[in-house]
């Protein structure tokens, strides 16, 4: 990472000037073994706003660095300082990497704005001037505390897509209701709690692609989602909602708490019909086992880190009809 350029008054103009100066300097850097500069490639395909808690910026920064390779962006990190802090600061820096076998670095620009909750609206006012023109704006609100601030609405209002993680919010149900409202208003929202379910949904879909299981679909009476934590995790609510959209109103969809050694939230999904069950069981962290009559098969259940989850959301910068239908079902129930 290049040395940051800090500015005291957080005016967009100053920060953009600092960025511009940074690019000029980067362009002058000499290539090892040569007295000439190979220049740098300034890459930006979107404005990516990341809202993060003070103290968590390092982990979030690593995620961001991974994301930049596939989604080079003007990254604007809003660091929410601990309660009581009145410091408002801005700095600009660049993150560069040298693709294998190339002599030219690829660099992404980053701006960090930090403020306490009290001054978060100051940051929102600066943000408007920092958005890269004519490119999508994505806001990943990683901080639950930021979601509760008034300034959240201002920041989210500037974004084409907002990514939340409702399971981390103080009241996940209220978070999902909020997302449902926003979707109704035509806004694009993603929820990492939903994104984590992709592997479950894929596994279930694969099982029912088997010819004998397709027949079983017609006679299904009940689906039970077994989970391990209290209260019922948001992921379970989402999974039940999705199953409802797939199975229709004629099938009972229920959830049960169960004891389990693993720390994962969903332990098992059981599809029941008269005299015949299909069970998908999470036997290990990265393995699920499907039981179809006497047939048993194991498949890899890929654990997605934060970067992978966000990457999946970044691949859907349009309305996700399945998510929208699921949210609608959940909010009605």
């Amino acid at each position: 990472m290049e040395d940051p350029v800090s500015v005291t008054a957080i005016r967009p103009e100053e920060l953009l000037k600092a960025l511009s100066g940074l690019w000029t300097e980067l362009g002058k850097e000499e290539v090892e073994g040569s007295d000439r500069s190979a220049g740098v490639l300034r890459a930006v395909t979107m404005t990516f706003i990341l809202g993060v808690e003070e103290g968590e910026e390092e982990g979030a920064g690593e995620t961001l660095a991974q994301l930049m390779h596939e989604h080079p962006s003007r990254a604007i990190v809003i660091k929410l300082r601990k309660n009581g802090s009145e410091v408002v600061e801005g700095r600009a820096y660049a993150q560069c990497w040298m693709p294998f076998g190339r002599r030219q670095q690829i660099c992404c620009e980053q701006i960090e704005l930090s403020a306490g909750a009290k001054n978060l609206e100051d940051v929102a006012s600066v943000l408007r001037g920092l958005i890269a023109p004519d490119l999508p704006v994505v806001f990943w609100c990683r901080s639950a505390r930021l979601f509760e601030q008034k300034a959240y609405g201002l920041i989210a209002g500037m974004a084409d897509k907002v990514i939340l993680d409702t399971r981390g919010l103080g009241d996940p149900q209220a978070g999902v209701r909020y997302v449902a409202q926003q979707l109704k208003l035509g806004r694009l929202y993603g929820d990492l709690t939903w994104t984590r379910l992709t592997r479950w949904r894929e596994t279930i879909a694969h099982v029912f692609e088997r010819i004998d299981c397709k027949e079983f679909l017609g006679s299904m009476e009940r689906v039970v989602v077994k989970y391990t934590q209290t209260p019922e995790p948001m992921a379970v609510v989402y999974l039940k909602g999705w199953l409802r959209t797939v199975m229709g109103a004629g099938v009972k969809i229920e959830s049960e708490r169960c004891e389990s050694e693993g720390s994962w939230q969903i332990r098992e999904v059981r599809f029941e019909s008269r005299g015949r069950d299909v069970v998908i069981d999470r036997v290990e962290k990265g393995i699920v086992e499907s039981h179809i009559d006497s047939f048993r098969t194991r498949s890899v259940f890929e654990i997605l880190d934060e970067a992978r989850l966000v990457r999946e959301e970044l691949a859907i910068l349009e309305r996700d009809p399945i998510f929208a239908r699921t949210i609608e079902v959940i909010s009605k129930s």
């Binding site: 953009l16 801005g90 100051d122 006012s125």
Partner: protein, 482 residues
């Protein structure tokens, strides 16, 4: 003096000024030639940009600096000026060529030119040229612009009157001509069949910065749109001239300006939006509203923001809206022209429900960036290699002045002053262009004068009033964020 002297010094630095080149300054302040030279040295050292100050060069340059004190209303001032010019002609061999640069209050223009004529300085008996440069505003409305022209043209021929619009001197505005008429690939698309609409934005992040008293009389429509932005729009939309010559280019610009549809009084409210910024907090600073600025009437009805939908009634542009906006206290300083092309006639990709509303579904966009980051970008759709399938994402091809040309870009004033000295008026505004642009904004000025607005209607640091967004939404468009 912040722009002019540094520009002239820079021209001297680049050896673009003829030998014997001299500058005669005038103001009411009593000052000797030496004092004037010292004052100018301080000014040049302070305001020169991207150039070193060369003391040896300055010595030579300063020998050509002279000063004649006097009141512009006093004929004696002109007699003294004539005497000084005659002396310079004799001693420095200028051949009698004189460029009068009126950096005065606009209300003095006509009177000064008349006095120049009365003192016998408007023509030179020995074959030297005499030209006058005036800065905008060229009148306050159509009638005053006509009156100004009548009085000036009674003394000097139109070919010797240089109305400076520094926007036209900007490299990037000149490059619009090069881009359009030096390449063949864009011109076939440059019409109503392929272009959905055009947006011209000139945003400033600063407020009136101590010019409140002046600004409240002018306003954004007069200060920016009537002159700079309509000239820019004309450059984007004009027809190709038969050859690159001052009159040929200006004929085409003028023709375009004359083709702008004149709004009927009842159309003004739906085609033009007037705004004024209110106080706000931007970053960690409290920012005053316009009415709270020093020297500004607390009830001022001044437009610090103006947005207008223009239509050009000719075969090329019929039905294509040209949205032009300018404002103070916007989120950032930026001037650009965005040409939005029509969407592909049939969407083969991204056909899922709602895909057309996706932020990625935007059609082709050509951005001509005037300032900052001068350059050109073309946005188009490309297949996204991630995730498989035929998913499209917008990508951008960029040309950036800074990185494509290693040379320094001359300032607009350098370009324009050099052109005026060389007798090239291509980048200057002609009287018929001034009149045509006043005609285009006059109905708006009249209507805004009649109405009382509930100001402020936008917060400092925002992109302008809501009504401006609604103006575009009525045609299914929206302002881009530049």
């Amino acid at each position: 003096m912040r722009k002019l002297l540094p520009a002239l010094y820079r021209l001297a630095y680049e050896r673009k000024l003829p030998p014997g080149f001299s500058i005669v300054g005038n103001s009411r302040t009593a000052m000797s030639h030496e004092q004037f030279r010292e004052k100018m040295r301080v000014s040049v050292e302070k305001f020169i940009e991207n150039s070193p100050f060369d003391a040896a060069l300055w010595e030579d340059f300063a020998r050509g600096l002279f000063y004649v004190p006097g009141d512009l209303g006093d004929p004696k001032c002109y007699a003294a000026l004539k005497e000084q010019l005659d002396e310079i002609e004799r001693e420095r061999g200028t051949g009698g060529n004189v460029l009068f640069y009126l950096s005065t209050q606009p209300s003095f223009y006509a009177g000064v030119v008349e006095q120049i004529g009365a003192a016998g300085m408007a023509v030179h008996g020995g074959g030297g040229w005499r030209r006058v440069v005036i800065e905008k505003p060229f009148g306050q409305d159509l009638a005053s612009a006509d009156e100004l022209n009548r009085r000036i043209s009674a003394v000097m021929a139109e070919k010797d009157v240089y109305r400076i619009d520094h926007y036209l001197g900007k490299e990037t505005v000149q490059n619009v001509l090069a881009f359009r008429f030096g390449n063949s690939i864009f011109e076939p698309l440059w019409n109503r069949q392929y272009i959905s609409h055009v947006q011209v934005t000139a945003a400033e992040s600063i407020g009136v910065e101590g010019r409140g008293a002046y600004y409240q009389e002018a306003g954004a429509l007069r200060d920016m749109i009537q002159n700079h932005l309509l000239q820019v729009m004309a450059t984007v939309a004009m027809e190709a001239p038969p050859y690159f010559d001052s009159d040929a280019v200006r004929d085409e610009r003028a023709k375009l300006l004359r083709s702008i549809r004149i709004l009927k009084p009842e159309e003004v409210d739906s085609h033009a939006v007037k705004g004024q910024y209110g106080p706000a907090r931007i970053g960690n600073e409290n920012v005053l509203g316009f009415r709270q600025e020093p020297g500004v009437d607390p009830e001022a009805q001044t437009d610090t923001y103006a947005a207008v939908t223009f239509f050009v009634d000719n075969w090329r542009w019929a039905g294509v809206p040209f949205y032009v906006r300018t404002g103070k206290r916007m989120p950032k300083r930026v001037t650009d022209i965005a040409i939005r092309f029509e969407a592909a006639p049939l969407s083969l990709f991204n056909t899922s429900p709602g895909a057309e509303d996706s932020p990625l579904a935007a059609p082709n966009l050509l951005i001509l960036r005037i300032q900052p980051d001068e350059g050109i970008s073309l946005r188009f759709q490309s297949k996204d290699p991630a995730g498989g399938g035929m998913k499209l994402r917008p990508v951008s091809m960029d040309f950036n002045y800074g990185s494509s040309f290693g040379t320094r870009t001359p300032s607009a004033y350098e370009t324009l002053l050099l052109d005026a000295l060389a007798g090239d008026s291509t980048l200057y505004t002609r009287q018929d262009m001034v009149e045509a642009s006043w005609r285009a904004v006059e109905p708006i000025l009249v209507r805004w004068q009649e109405r009382r607005f509930d100001f402020p209607n936008y917060e400092a640091g925002s992109w302008g009033p809501r009504e401006s967004d609604e103006m575009l939404e009525r045609r299914g468009h929206q302002w881009r964020i530049p």
